[in-house]
Symmetry: C2
Amino acid sequence: MKKMTRIEQILAEALARGESAGCPPRLAGAVRHAVFPGGARIRPQLCLAVAHACGDDDPALADGAACAIELLHCASLVHDDLPCFDDAPTRRGRASVHYAYGEPLAVLAGDALIVLAFQTLAQAAAHATHRLATLMTIVTRGVGLPLGIVAGQAWECEPKVSLSAYQQAKTGALFAAATMAGAAASGGDPEEWRAFGERLGWAYQAADDIRDVAGDPLLMGKPVGRDVALSRPSSAAELGLEGAITHFERMMDSVLDAIPSCAGELALRELVRIEAARLVPTQFFDGSQRIAA
Amino acid sequence: MKKMTRIEQILAEALARGESAGCPPRLAGAVRHAVFPGGARIRPQLCLAVAHACGDDDPALADGAACAIELLHCASLVHDDLPCFDDAPTRRGRASVHYAYGEPLAVLAGDALIVLAFQTLAQAAAHATHRLATLMTIVTRGVGLPLGIVAGQAWECEPKVSLSAYQQAKTGALFAAATMAGAAASGGDPEEWRAFGERLGWAYQAADDIRDVAGDPLLMGKPVGRDVALSRPSSAAELGLEGAITHFERMMDSVLDAIPSCAGELALRELVRIEAARLVPTQFFDGSQRIAA
């Protein structure tokens, strides 16, 4: 089965468990709206790619980890879009959850997705409990206090913040969790895969900043110009557009440097190449040529 | 160590881990505000009491489970108090989290507490991973879809809801998780302890409804009269105050009936007796006499 098909299927199975008898129908609708149709699903792709590179000796557990990571990402998008943060009317090219279902159900859909993520991981590990505590620690660190994506979002509420601490927590942390969880689910050493995920996360955040300044809202599927409007830390705002693109190029080099030598190395480089080309609009940066070099 | 001291200490240890180096200070403050000073801590007390009744062969794991349950309860209070739900200015006799820290940090504090709960559980189970998957399943069911407290809160957003489905999800689910997790943490059979927790949760919700209609806001630590103002399902609204009190009395009987025969039975009956007296203001219901009978 193709990786993207596999990811959509495991997400659909997780949601079906949540939507079973007795679930309030509008909450089920809001949760589904938050997950389908999806974005690039880069985090679960990364998780499965690393699991494959580490031997993929427990594909069901790798699926559970990938699914948990994506559900947590979807939860963060729903809450980040709320009126008290970005107040985003659109996401992935259609109404954001709170626009479609109202603010109460958007808050609850985010909460439900966080819980569903850990439920999915626990169920996937029922036959491999020796790996569950490690996976739980990796995933909760990527999301929670002190350095996960919730902390990253909270830096927007602080009077002072360093750009690198913000980018690391806001995006690097969950990317690192994705690669490390892929390794841990397959019996690999998660620490060997931390830098690869972390750096890709930083590059992803830098690309997001560039696209926010220069991107096309139709391409982004959400409003642009929000970082400046909301006074958020942004590499494009700090370095200027050209500086931010150079910064992004250097980051993509360091991402490739961080891939451990392994059987799946070529496939991972290809995944990074495709992402780089997708992340920054081609009028600014010809990613496919740059990374192939 | 007394049970309440033990509970405050395990909560303090969990928060200290979250607040470690690199955590955004205002988020750490909001999380702490949500947890300390606490309420009655009835859910973790229940969890530890059942763990004790089941032999308490792994006190550290029981502590982790009790702590996780209370952190999840605190998270639900923070989100339920938000302007889009109850818009409560006070909680436990002082400013609610969003009044003290603003709405963005209240959303994030709730998210952080959910994640911290699962992180705490996983860390407590690092030496007993064979019990972790079961504990995770119990706890996530108590909180998430389709029948946990998040679903309970979501029933307030549905055009039609049955009072019993609402009370079961809104309160019964996490009480059941507390008793079942106490059993599972100590190698007991969680299913034997479901009814006790579930019924106590229903009684607790019924008492909350009575206090909302008739209670003193200073005693409650939060505004009263909110159920009617917000058109929420309420046994006091459905049955009238007198009918709701009779309903509560019957529920307390069925709670006592559901305690399994075990070494800790007397201590559990005493816990229930104290709770009953605390739950409903004495001018309406002399709980100590009723339950001792």
